[in-house]
């Protein structure tokens, strides 16, 4: 696998300060009904509805305890990864660490060395179109722990899946870490929409490494939204568009608060003839440091790629900033690649204009932020739409974490 964009902005985490061993005295979650009402509410805030309505499957990981609600859809399998690895020999041989190297860094090594890995396994059989989204919640309910996640998603030929992954921590949780590996394998003509919503407490640290391999005619749509950032988030999803006509749409929406460091990226390797990638990063900075990156590498004739980084800075204080670094690398003369980046602030005359129509200053700013985040994004799902409205509202009200 190629070298990815260098991630170096978020500080190193001393993993020795966290426990990765389950506390055997704590009860094991066997039903969503056992969740405390406050926890269910936090989960709903990141798109995970424990009543399982309009969902084709539910996986919840509370600290180290996994819970799977049995799925009813034929051709869809959802299991805790530890169960799946025991059940299927081929999973370890054919898919484990094939999209993310186990020794990529100390965080992936930590996940790979876990005796009892946490995370989910989703498998969609050939031709199956899963009717409702599958949802997963990776939830931290106690301080002092490090979750070590390993997720694997496999879509066979001509299948379709929407996955909503909500990552959050219980109100009041202090220092904790969320380390994750996610590997996605999208078969020929399959379509995978992955929406990930993060909402953390200020002392949680996140290191997430994901890799996606897309076959011919496959489509990967990835939406990442960070509503309430942790102390630091460092992620650099990597996608290999290996098949002819494989395509990727990647959208990142981040709201930064004071004291947080968010370093997101998106490395894409356009290896398939006529493959295409479109990356859009949107960030609203009300404090803290936000790095928007992405490196698109065009290797084949007819490949097309575009990356767009846009940021808005609002009363971010002396230390708050956005750094946008969209990158292109053309290794074939027929690769067509472009990028753009812009960072600005809200224009006072626009706020005043909306106020002259009767809006309060906050309502005006919220609407402008919403417009900024919605820009050129077509076909937003209701889930995504609701989160964008929430970000606009939070930023418009200048609310801290």
């Amino acid at each position: 696998m190629e070298n990815s964009t260098d991630l170096r902005q978020a500080a190193d985490i001393d993993l020795n300060q966290f426990t990765t061993v389950p506390d055997t005295h704590r009860g094991v979650l066997v039903s969503p009904d056992q969740l405390e009402p406050g926890d269910a509410e936090v989960m709903a805030g990141v798109g995970v509805h424990v009543e399982n309505e309009d969902r084709s499957g539910t996986y919840i990981l509370q600290d180290f305890n996994p819970l799977c609600v049995p799925v009813q859809t034929k051709g869809l399998e959802l299991l805790p990864i530890a169960v799946a690895l025991k059940k299927y020999d081929w999973l370890r041989k054919k898919y484990c660490f094939k999209a993310v190297n186990a020794d990529l860094d100390k965080y992936t090594l930590q996940c790979a060395s876990a005796a009892d890995p946490q995370g989910y396994f989703v498998h969609v059989k050939k031709g199956v179109k899963v009717p409702f989204p599958v949802q997963a919640c990776l939830y931290i309910a106690q301080s002092g722990i490090a979750q070590t996640i390993h997720n694997i998603v496999i879509l066979e030929e001509d299948s379709e899946l929407q996955l909503i992954t909500g990552c959050a921590s219980r109100t009041g949780v202090g220092s904790a870490a969320h380390l994750g590996i996610s590997e996605h394998f999208i078969g020929p003509k399959a379509r995978f929409t992955n929406t990930m919503i993060h909402s953390w407490n200020p002392d949680v640290e996140v290191r997430s490494r994901s890799g996606t391999i897309v076959d011919a005619g496959g489509t990967f749509i990835s939406n990442y939204i960070s509503l309430r950032p942790s102390k630091s988030i460092q992620t650099n999803p990597r996608t290999w568009l290996n098949g002819e006509g494989a395509s990727l749409k990647y959208l990142t929406i981040i709201l930064g608060f004071g004291g947080s460091t968010i370093d997101t990226g998106g490395d894409v390797y356009l290896n398939g003839k006529n493959s295409s990638a479109e990356l859009a990063h949107r960030a609203v900075c009300t404090g803290g440091r936000i790095y928007q990156r992405g490196l698109l590498t065009g290797n084949t004739p007819g490949c097309r790629a575009h990356i767009d980084c846009a940021g808005m800075v609002l009363d971010a204080g002396e230390d708050g900033f956005i750094e946008a670094v969209p990158g292109l690398k053309a290794l074939h003369p027929d690769a067509r690649m472009s990028h753009e980046a812009s960072i600005g602030r809200i224009a006072p005359e626009q706020v005043a204009y909306l106020q002259s129509r009767g809006m309060s200053e906050r309502e005006a700013i919220s609407l402008l932020i919403r417009g900024f985040l919605d820009l050129d994004i077509e076909g937003l799902s209701p889930e995504l739409d609701a989160r964008i409205a929430e970000i606009a509202d939070l930023a418009g009200h200048g609310e801290g974490i």
Binding site: A347, E349, Q350, A352, Y353, L354, Q355, S356, R357, G358, M359, S360, E361, E363, L367, L368, R370, G371, F372, L373, D374, L375
Partner: protein, 253 residues
């Protein structure tokens, strides 16, 4: 008849420069006045000060609306009291659709709102409803968009800054119709049911499309003459604004 707007001895400073000087203006309920003056005389400054744009700093004087001193209120508070404006060059707002602003106006309306779709069809606004505010619109389309928002909001007091500038001959009729609708001039001759406003114009041509009850002449940030709109306009057309400045009446101010 009670005065809806009363401005007393208003002085306004913009970016360190005094623009309006001891300006007095009174507009009674149900009357539409026009403010005539050459470029740079302070017409737009007066409108932006009345609606409350913060960069227009009041250094002296008072603005009373319906008897209440609004001099220190912010834009939102003034808009919610019932003051509306149509700007000559409103900003373009990417990502915010005209319909979103109209939806806000409708959701917060205190009186019944007319059928927006029917009105949009009648005034040829439909194509702009789902477009970003003022993005890629012609001069006439911008004016229509501005006036349409006022038509739906129906503020008690409306100010329009150069409503006919950049409007072609075909669109000017629609602009005129919208203005008469906003001021309820089509519906009633009873003054108390008419709406109140101030039309700012440099050329005065828009007065061919709407009746103004009174005209004010502003020169160098000072209103020195108030009278019949048509007589004043005839004088200006015949002699130009330069002659107004040299006029005996003006010099005696």
């Amino acid at each position: 008849m009670t005065n809806l707007l009363e401005i007393k001895a208003l002085c306004v400073n913009v970016d360190g420069q005094d623009i309006l000087h001891d300006l007095d203006l009174t507009i009674p309920n149900g009357e539409v006045h026009t403010l005539l003056g050459p470029n740079g005389s302070g017409k737009t400054t007066l409108m932006m000060t009345i609606i409350g744009y913060p960069e227009y700093r009041v250094t002296n004087g008072q603005i009373l609306f319906d008897g209440k001193d609004i001099t220190t209120l912010d834009i939102t508070e003034r808009a919610r009291l019932g003051i509306g404006i149509s700007q000559q060059r409103p900003p373009t707002i990417s990502g915010v659709k005209l319909k979103q602003v109209l939806d806000f106006i409708i959701a917060n309306a205190r009186q019944p709102v007319p059928d927006i779709n029917e009105l949009a069809r009648a005034y040829k606004i439909e194509p702009f409803l789902d477009r970003d505010i003022n993005a890629g619109l012609s001069g006439g389309e911008i004016k229509s968009s501005e006036l349409f928002q006022l038509l739906i909001a129906r503020p008690r007091f409306v100010m329009m800054d150069e409503p006919d500038s950049g409007v072609d001959l075909e669109a000017i009729n629609i602009v005129g119709q919208m203005m008469n609708e906003i001021f309820a001039r089509h519906h009633t001759i009873r003054t108390k049911e008419r709406r109140t406003g101030l039309i700012i114009t440099h050329t005065g041509n828009i007065l061919d499309y709407i009746h103004a009850d009174k005209a004010h002449l502003i020169l160098d940030g000072y209103i020195g003459y108030t009278g019949n709109p048509h007589i004043l306009l005839d004088q200006i057309r015949e002699h130009g604004y330069g002659e107004c400045a040299r006029c005996e009446l003006w010099r005696c101010r």
